[in-house]
């Protein structure tokens, strides 16, 4: 199957939005109560980045300017001088959305967190709780995987029997589970 025809191509997977259990207003109200300094906590592939992306427009609607930052295993640190420029450009309504805060070591995090106090808020993603109060914990279930697969395919009936094992194999990491489905479809000769 051509990559462009693969139903699990990344643009389709990235178009899936976070399925919040509660409502967004309640989540934003909790963020306010936490002094706008909080963390989205959850394991790999559980939707932390998606949730952060989905919160961004809502925070902008609330009058903030969102300032995204991202670190991951491929880019685990900022380039020299980047953070100096970043913090020098911060405005009073700027709210930092830092995806992958766990990539910073303890000392670097301490420095970052102190400098970020000049911002209107700081929301980070991390795999374990601790550095900032937890705003929300992201988690996954086999049923969520099935829902997302159904959303992509229109109907998950054909794959349904295989999804619980797929979920287990990837230990609940939905991103990796959907990548495996990409590979399965890629192997189909069309």
């Amino acid at each position: 199957m051509r990559a462009r025809d693969n139903p699990f191509r990344s643009e389709r997977v990235l178009s899936l939005r976070y399925r919040l259990g509660g409502n967004w207003d309640a989540l934003l109200a909790r963020f306010e109560r936490l002094g706008r300094r909080a963390a989205v906590v959850g394991p790999h592939g559980s939707g932390k980045t998606t949730l952060l992306e989905d919160l961004a427009p809502r925070l902008r609607e609330a009058g903030f300017t969102t300032r995204p930052l991202r670190l991951d295993t491929e880019t685990p640190r900022f380039e020299p001088g980047f953070l100096d420029r970043f913090f020098a450009s911060l405005g009073p309504r700027d709210l930092i959305l830092f995806d992958g805060a766990e990539q910073l070591g303890a000392l670097a995090w301490h420095r970052f967190e102190r400098r970020a106090r000049a911002a209107a808020g700081l929301l980070v993603t991390q795999h374990r709780p601790g550095r900032l109060p937890t705003l929300v914990e992201t988690s996954t279930t086999p049923e969520l995987l099935e829902t997302l697969v159904a959303q992509i395919l229109g109907d998950a009936a054909e794959l349904r029997p295989t999804l619980p094992a797929l979920f287990e194999r990837h230990q609940g990491n939905l991103r990796d589970a959907l990548r495996e489905l990409y590979d399965r479809y890629a192997a189909v000769s069309i």
């Binding site: 199957m1 990344s10 590979d183």
Partner: protein
């Protein structure tokens, strides 16, 4: 109600590198746009990160709410339109009005044969 439309000359969608792409953009807008332009772009689709590059653009000046403008641009030497199991490179032309981002787009192929090159079939179309 607003509408933007693109038409390529002779409804052609298969091109060779270096060939001229010609067409007409026409629109019916409810508000005067800040900018209106035709963009030639390629993007990747597949398992990895989506890459996108706008290769050429033609901006229209002094546009009316209802207007019709021809455009022409030389196609670049590459990359070719290709598809494998992991990635496809897809070419397109779009007409975009800003602000608002309202658009119309058409997909085209660019390769020596005019057909998409299939990497999963040993480079045959």
């Amino acid at each position: 109600m607003s509408a933007l439309n693109l038409q390529l000359a002779d409804a052609k969608t298969k091109y060779r590198p270096g060939e001229r792409l010609e067409g007409v953009a026409f629109w019916e807008l409810s508000e005067k746009p800040r900018s209106l332009e035709v963009r030639l772009y390629w993007r990747t689709q597949g398992k990895g990160t989506v890459d996108l590059e706008i290769v050429r653009s033609v901006a229209f000046d002094g546009v009316a709410l209802n207007d019709r403008r021809p455009f022409s641009m030389e196609l670049p030497p590459g990359p070719y339109s290709v598809s494998g199991k992991l990635v496809s490179i897809v070419w397109g032309v779009e007409l975009v009005a800003e602000p608002g981002g309202q658009s119309d787009h058409l997909e085209i192929t660019i390769s020596p044969s005019g057909e998409e090159v299939r990497l999963d079939r040993g480079g045959k179309s």
